[in-house]
Structures are given as C-alpha cells and as structure tokens.
Symmetry: D2
Subunit: 355 residues, 4 copies
C-alpha cells in the first residue's frame, strides 16, 4: 500500500521502469478547473533525465498523456488519469539478477519486504515513479493558481558545501531555470556546476539541498493535530527518493534562538494581519498564517556511483561492486526541483479541499 | 479532521485543556497483547508539567485510565480507549478573550480556520493533547516489545547552541533520566540546565533538538512510495507542537558528503546482512534495513515568554503584550522526550500492521 | 480495525459491555454547531433496554457524557468525545466461558478471528456498542438540522408477517412514539405488540423490518462511484447487529416493473425540479435528487432465545443449549429505530462534508 | 472522491465513456500472485455489450491491458494498473447537450453536484466504468483462488416476476453461461429470455435480481463494527449502477421467522464446525463463519427506454422525451453477473488483507 497521498485531493501512482509506463490517478480535483497539458509537460520536462551534462545521460521522452477526467480543457470532477509511457518497454528480463545488494540502494530492503531480488537497471524503487508525481503536482498547481493565485518556486540551495543566497520573496521559476544547476545565484551556480562535474568525472556523486517557497497561500489551511500543514509537507518531502531531511521556517538553526528573537510579531496589513519576520515559515500550530511557506529539504549523494565499492553479496561474502561508467546521476538536486514543487502542490491542494 | 494517525494501527485523539480531559482511541492493536498500565503511566509522568524547576510549574496529575479494549491485562483486539482527565475542569469561561493574537501562537491561525477567537490559557491548540499521544504511544511500545523486542530511546541532543555526545547504540532511558534535562552527557547536561535557568530567569525561552534511536526493528517494514518509514516518521515528528525540523541518518550534514563516503557498505551478519556505517539511518528506499533507526528533530523556543512583546491586535493596532511571569515553559525539549518516543512507536506499530 | 465510519464526518466507536463504558469520537463536525445534550440523551433513551415489556428487562441508565469538542453549547471544530458509562462495570470475569458456541451468535466467528472464547453475557459483539452510535448520530442530526433542516424519521414497518401502512411524507417521531412497538399505524401496532408478547411468552423471538425517510436533503450529495449515497446507507444499515437486508426506493419489488412504469418523471417545482413518483428513493446515480430518501431494512429474529436448542460444542459433541428465561429481547425492531436514524444521520453528515 | 474501494486491497477506478478509456489501479495485492490476463479478459467479455440479442447492440472490444505491477506473469507487490481503452475515442463533443434531464438517469443529480449539464450518449455516470471494476475484480479473484481456493459464482435469479430454482451449493459459471440470460434453470431461462425480448420489442425495459455464492471463504474474515463482511458487500453491491437492494442469507424473508426456526445449529465437521442451515448467509456478527456466503441483489429496469416519456426540461417546461430505438439495454442483469462477482471478489480480497 502507501501508493496514495492525500485525503481530499488524492493522488495514487503506479508503474515500474520497464513496464508500459508510470502514471497517476488524481481523485478529488473539482470540476471546471482549466487544464493546460503544456504546463504539465513543462514540469515533466524539467524532471526528465538528460537535460544537461550535469545529470544522467539516459534519454527519456516523458510525454504526459491524460487518460480521463478532462474534457475540452476542463476537469469534469471525476478522477484524472495521467500516464507517462516508458521510452523503452522491455517486457521481459531487463537486467541480470544482482549477486549483491547495492550499498544504500533499496535492493536489500525490497528483498526483505517482497521476497524478490532486484535486477540491475530495473526494479520498482525507481526514481521514474516521480514522473507521475510531477504530472499530478503540475495539475494540482493549476487548481491552486485558479483557486487563489498560489505560486510555488523551488531552487537548489546548496551542492555539497557550496551554499547560495537567494531572495525568497521574489525568486521565480524563470530565475531558477537560467542555470542548468537550477540555482538562481550566479556565483553559487558556477561553483556548484564545477563541483558536480568534478565529482562526476571522479565517478562519484554529491548531495545538496533545495529551498521552496509557496506564496499566496491563504491563512487557515491545515489541520491542528496530525495533519498539520508542516507535517504533511514533511511526509511529502521525505517520500521523495534520496530525501533525508526537512525543515520549515527557522528549522534547526532556530533552536539556537530565544523566544524573544524567534517569535514573529504581527503587523497590521491592509486587509489582513501579517508578521514582520517569518521564522514560523508560514505556519503556526499546523495552520497556514498567510505568510509565505518556506522550507528546506536535503538530498543525499546518489547511491549509484561508478567507483568500485567494497561490500558483501547476499550470502555475506566480500565482493567489489562496480557500475558501468556514464550511467549515473552525479547530483539529483537540479532534477529534484520540479518534484519538490509537485509534492508541495499536492499537499496544498489536499489542504485546500479540507478547509 | 486530521485527528487520526495510522492505517493499520490507528490512533485518534480528542480533548481540550479545559474540558473533561484528553484521550485517544487506538484501533488495530491485535488481541492478546499484555498491557501494563504502570508502563503507560510512567511515560505520561515523563511528559507531565512540573517535574523539575526546568519546566512550567503548572501541576497536572495526568492519570491515565483505560476505557475499553483491555481485559485481565490483555488486549481484546477491539478499540482501546485511553483517557487522561483534566486536573481542573472548568466547564465555563477559563480566560479572557484575547485582544491580540499572541506572536507565534496558533491564536491567529485558529481564528482564520474556525472563526473563533482564542481565550488566554485555554484553547484547542494546547500541548495537553500530547498527553493522549504519549499514552497511546506507550501502548504501541508494549505491542512492539512483545512482537520483536523493539527499544525506542530519545534524549535531548542540544539546548540552544549547547550540543552533546551520546552513544546511539547503547543509550538507555535510565541513562536519559539521570538528569532533569534528559541529556545523558553529564557535562552537556550541566551546561544545558544552566542555560535553561538563565533564559527562564530572563523571562525568555530557548529551543533545542532531540535524537531518537529505535533498535531491533526488523528489515522490511515501510512502504515504497508515499508511506516510506522516514516519511511517516517525518510527519509524526512535525505533528508535535513546536517541532520545526526532522532529519534521518546523515540528514542535512550528509548532503556535503560524496556517494563513496555516504554509501553504507553491507557486512555479513550471523543470520542477516548489516551495514558497517549507518548514514541511511536504518531505512533504504522507505523500508527498514534492520539497522537502528536514528533521527533528529528540532523544537523552536516556546512562543510563550514573559518579556513584553511589541505586536498588533486583531484590528492592526500596535500593542504591547505581556504574559504573567512564572507560567511559561522555558524549554520544551526535556518534556518532548516521551512525546517523540510515543510518535516513533505509533509509526512503527502502524508499519508492523501493514507488513 | 473497522471501528470508524465516514471520511469527512468520521465517527469512531469503542467500548465493551463490561468495561468502563462505550463511546464515540466524532471528527470533522464543523465549529459553531449548537449542541443539545438533551436531544442526544432523548435518542439514547429510545435505544436503551427496559423501555417496555416488549424488550429485554435488563436496565441500563445509558447517560451520555460529552468529553470534548463542545464548549458553551457549541462545537469547537475539534473531535467530539462521547461516553456512555456502563451501569455495571465488573472489571473481572463476568460470565462463564461457554462450552458451546451459541447458534447464530458471533461466539464462533470471534473465536476464529481473535482466538478468544466468548463468555456468557459479556463479550465484544454486544449490541451495547450501538449506544455510542446513537449518541454520535444524534449529534450528526443536529448538524444536519442546522445546516439545511434535514428530518430523519424511522419506524417499525413489519413484525413477522404483520405489515403496516404509514404515510412516508408526513410521519413524525411523535407519531412513531405513540406506541411501544414504534409503529404509527394503530391497527398494525396492536397486532405487532400481541405478536411480540406471544413469541416472548414462548421463549422465542421474531424478526421485523423498519422504514426510514430523510426529508429536506439537498440535491447533489453523494459520490458517483463507490461512495454512492445508497451504497453508504447500505453499508451503514448492514453494520447494525442483526440487520440482514437493505433496499432503497422501489427495492426488490421494483425489479418486477418496466422502465416505463419505474422511471420517475420530472416535474417543475417552484425553484427546483422534483419528480412525480419516487421509485428512485431520493437518489439517482448515487447522488441525492432532493426528493425524500426512503429505505427499508430487515432485522432477523434475535439469536438469543430461551427455548432449548440442539447444537454442538466447540469439539463437535452434541449438546442442548438453554438460556435462562427472561433475559432475552424477543424483537429488536422497536429499539432499532433510533439506531437506524443515527446511522442515516452519520451517512448524511459525511456526505454533507464531502460536497 | 469516492473512486476508491477497500483499505488493504484497494481499487481506484477512472475513466469516462468518451475519453481514452476506463481503468483501475489496484494497490495492496501481495507480490508473487500468478496473473492470467486471459482469465481477466474472460470476465471482461462477459460484461461487454453486444454479447447476445438480449442486450444493447453497441459493440465494444473491451480489451484489458496491464499497465504495471505484473512481470513475467506474477505480481510485484506494487500497484497494478489496468486499462480498457474505449473503442471510439471521440475527444470532442460526442452528443448534444440535453435540454431535459432524462427521468431516473443521473443527468439532474450530476448537474446539481458538478454544475455541468450532461450530453446525450456520453457523460460520466456511464456503466462503462464497471469494465474497470470487472478487470480489477477478476484479478482479486485470482489472488483469492491462490490464497485459499475461493470460488465466486453469480447468476440471474429473476427477471421481472419470473423466478428460478438453482442449487446454491453446486452451481458453476459454466452452468450459468449455458444460457444467454445467465440463469442456469432452463425453464426459467426460457421464460426470462422471452420476457426480455418482449419488453425490448415494446421499447421498454425490465428489472431483475441476481444471486451470488462465495464458497471456501475461511472463517474469521470481516471486522466487527462498521466494516462487517455483510456491510462491505452491501456497499459494494449498491455501488453498482441500477442496484436498488441487497440481502444476505435469509434477508427480508427471514424477518417472518422465529429465532427457533432461524438460528443455524452448529454441526461437528471433520476439522471445523459448520452449521446445518445457512440463514446467516455465511456471516455472524460481521465475520465469516466458513459456510458459503450467499446474497441477493436487485437491479431496477434500465432508465433508458425508447418509448416516449412525459417529463419537464431544466426550466420546468413540459416536454416529451424519446430516445432512438435500438440503443438501449432492455435488462441489465445478464451483464451484471460478472460485475457482482467482481465486487464480491474485491470485498473478500480486502477482508483477506485485513485479517
């Protein structure tokens, strides 16, 4: 189970790397929302492999098809089916059954859960499933835009130890996409891109962090106990492959502040109260306060590297594993940008439907 | 909604600070689990206010009653009702309706969601609801102990900028409880306790972090897509009041490593593979790998402080807010220890029931 | 599991016959609904045993307490806890472990599911759990009344082969309660009451049917696929102990009609279309059409009788079972009236929250 | 919402009559179940239109494709995507917007719910969605067969007032399929087929009932409160378009019996207790008892008829509606057989996963 997310706006994904494709069913999107397949495809294109020399060179078309729920460019109120066919549908055996579980991959844990050994290059824990999420999230975003003008922008905040400085209030997707690494701070982007090429050339990989801002979210969204807005965002982000951490607002750094420094004083707005600082990150007590929602997520260095690794096989015998050069993705954060945006949109759409 | 957590082992909480009490219904606990009310009460006692001079001096008895689902010390397989009566059940007006929303409290967001202004000292966003979670979590822990010997230990890892050094593999609850601040590193505990008294005496508050380890969790628990073990843990932790961040395994720091450093090589165990490092934090691809689950959470400084605060009232007029001295909790992390343990137990019990 | 019902307006029940009590948690009721505890108690009183010589003579006070979610007579938007304490809380052994499973009771099936043998007079499959449903349903009814003036009236339609003739459009609860048997057709009620006394005096029991009408339900409630209004009503009714059948509108009899007879022609209303007949029973394609929702449910004769029964014990040996005279309920339908009304209210409240 | 059914074995359907197709995602099917696409297609073929002169003459190929979750003929444990492409995918306007809501169709109720007027011949409430359920149910059946040899057989029990006599214990699908009307009682089948042709030739339609038996279901399945086996079956059946009633075991007729007649005495079996009668219909207290599950469902006469109908348009003006001859289905029960079997399988698979 666990292939569904959300209660009021619910997405269910399906599909493996080497079947017909991956897809998503969105249930709970209201009728009469205008749907742009182009806008969905644009986000899918930002996720797909092979966009630049910074990512894996595997090519996938990732063309999104709408199977149901949309007619004449508008939603019907019925479930919306989305399908991304696989470029290379090999119905049979794709790879060899691996003798040894790859370190920090899901080979070992999937064997324990499902009783099936993984095959090289295939398998069910594939990041390809995120293509379905991106399509569903892009749809959710259109709903949110039409509902109340919500804008969601994510960007690469750090690669390895290289940080950046970006204005949370003004950054746009266009700014983000000026650079292949998807960091809108030019100096940082230069250093990040150099760093990624360096680890790539060494057959290694590197981690990084993303930041994301959601603007124009109305006050009053979120549930007070287990389904706090920040709790659902945390689940959504940690459900992305390779994500290891989430923080909202002041996050870990805020624990070093005193309450008198950390509290966000209210300010009188034209029609609504705001706050003069935003350590809360746009939520208080699990419910949005109308300020931008700001959060940060961490992605570990990809587990697939082409350097030899000392490990053991399924029987516990020492082996040296080495993956063929050139297939691996040295850093996932540039391609994670639309995935983070999609998951944020799915959370917000779900909260919107529960208000 | 959102007052329920879990699918296979589901807890639903209810209750406000000034009604009859707070409670939880646990549905999905198997029949024939031995239940120790003493063990449940012990965790409730670790959460309750007034345990030391480091916390609020408000006194609450927090006596847990079992309403249903247990007979002769064993579960029946039916829903288990747990009730913690309020010490002081004032049915009527407890406090004054506040003129101004307190900064970084939920007063403003609750008004936006429910259309009701909060009263001083009362209200629905009370941390008192966590008493119900602790009781339910302590029950979940007993199920997990009997199922496969799972041990869950949380402790205070930092207060403000004061960190600590604790052996994740060996630390016990007894170690943790040697100090009021619940940090088992004595030197760090001294500094932390001094720090908390200092901010308390200044009418201020301070944040901190907790670490938590879950040992003896079998490999193969967790769901591969949205209900990854780490995703449910993240949701569970961010659903605790004042929690702002979650990281598992290497977390944010791991983003600075290379894959060749970060990958956890497998090692042959007596009956099962293990890993020689644990940057994964006990999960790979959302599924447990049999290694200890290790995660860290951040709690902001409590919003209630007794220093005057410049803010605005509901109409946007500038006001100075000041809470009566002596009521506030200068640092929540010591009392958050059993809450973090409870939420971890609820997540694991839920995964256990979905295997 | 399975102790919760509903998604938008969700009730979870708990409690056994011989613990502290039975209760319900209602999550999803909006804030600011006016709550009358008297109206809740009135429905609980209609369900409780010992109301007349037609039912079991066991006495239960069935006093409903509100644990949470209501303040100053209004809902807070938070979960509403309801508790009905047991009159006789014997914590220990209530009855003897039975040597033989009682025919058409749940003794055998509970043993198969939970691995525990039932005790006489106690146990988990008790009809007492319906006290919690009635309390929650009475609350749901108040929400529905305030939302759009919905009225729900159920009555006894038949006892054994004795039918009745009641005007679906005008019947009120006051009409229903003029007779102990809760059938508002006086001649039928006379015959029914005589019949129930007759089977009671013979140590036997008899079945019956109820009808229920829900008026003023707006058009447009219900979901088109699995959560059709009639499908949720069917689940709700068949979840009542001893219920064996459900039909909406024309039901089984309608299968003998032709489409030209069965179709409900539309008629122009003042502000809204209606239909000149109501074979649909108020729903079309799973969604309410604004006409009264009319359905009928069947309750089998109670399994507990005081006549001797030839059966076998758990080891398969032939035995004669005989229950002590005077404890059993010869016909459940009079007391089922408020339960049917409660379940209908819970379904409608859930649909109301999903619109 | 409401496009999903089940918790442990969950099916979500999607698709309209005139988009790409209809489909289902099944989440929760265990890994390693052998899947026969032929067996799935066989059930789809039993549902599709145009099988005989008794049904609509519209032709649909209804070819089932597996999109995901199955590899080398076995399930992977991941979501299984099933797609039935529409024969005639007209992306644009299919029919005219209707001036008047068709009596006893969902045109009016969908307008009220979604704010969109239906088009002739198209629309979202189409029975075509049941093709997806049949495919998912056929998969569920394979799981149940491999798990414990469960057999599910449904047949036409009556058409209009014409009943039949069939041996519940021995009837097979092959028996059922000997006749186009799917009633295995030859004399009754003759009369039924004549009756259907008669109403068809008069441009009218007729209702009917189905019976269904589920054999080899183990004792102990089902949940005791809201998710009783019979309650989920009732929901499942009433969720089928045109279904108006459900009864299990003795049903409505059983209300006329006394407890001493209705109770099912236990009998000692070789390894397990059985009962000498089966008025319970295979369930007691919501939980299966190992006896065959037997239930009956009612389908109203189809609302689409070719005789003229007096009704009103959306503005309340009197109009005469007439559908073009030859398109309508005079009686749905023969084609409902695989749908009832599918829904029964989905309920049982869900209960199997919750044991």
């Amino acid at each position: 189970m666990g292939s569904s997310f959300g209660t009021g706006f619910r997405v269910s994904t399906f599909g493996e790397s080497h079947g017909v494709g991956v897809g998503a069913i969105v249930d709970g999107c209201p009728a009469q929302v205008e749907v742009s397949l182009e806008a969905i495809q644009a986000q899918a294109d930002r996720r797909k492999p092979g966009q630049s020399d910074l990512t894996t060179q595997r090519m996938e078309a990732d063309k999104v098809e709408i199977l149901s729920g949309v007619q004449h460019g508008k939603t019907l109120g019925t479930p919306i089916g989305l399908l991304v066919k696989n470029y290379d549908q090999r119905p049979g055996d794709y790879g060899e059954v691996l003798d040894a579980p790859r370190p920090s991959h899901a080979d070992f844990t999937y064997l324990k859960k499902y009783g099936v050994k993984a095959k090289s290059g295939g398998g069910r824990a594939s990041a390809r499933e995120t293509a379905a999420r991106v399509a569903a999230g892009a749809l959710a975003e259109q709903y949110l835009q039409q509902l109340c003008g919500i804008e969601i922008v994510a960007w690469v905040n750090s690669v390895g130890a290289i940080g950046s400085d970006v204005d949370v209030n003004s950054v746009t997707r266009a700014d983000v996409d000026t650079r292949a690494v998807r960091c809108p701070d030019p100096a940082a982007a230069d250093a990040m891109e150099a760093r990624i090429r360096e680890v790539r050339d060494e057959g290694d990989s590197i981690g990084g962090t993303l930041m994301c801002v959601c603007r124009n979210v109305p006050a009053g969204w979120g549930e007070p106990i287990f389904d706090k807005a920040e709790a659902l965002l945390a689940q959504a982000m940690l459900s992305i492959p390779a994500c290891k951490a989430f923080e909202i607002g002041s996050g870990f750094a805020g624990t070093e502040l005193r309450g008198s420094q950390h509290n966000d004083p209210f300010t009188g707005g034209a029609t609504e109260l705001g706050t003069s600082t935003n350590n809360s990150g746009g939520v208080q007590g699990g419910i949005t306060n109308g300020m931008p929602i700001v959060f940060r997520v961490a992605f570990k260095p990809p587990a697939t590297i082409s350097r030899p690794q000392e490990t053991v096989d399924y029987e516990g015998n020492a082996v040296t594993l080495q993956v063929t050069q050139g297939r691996h993705d040295p850093c996932v954060v540039p391609r994670a940008v639309p995935i983070v945006e999609a998951m944020a949109a799915l959370v917000l759409a779900d909260l919107a439907r529960q208000v």
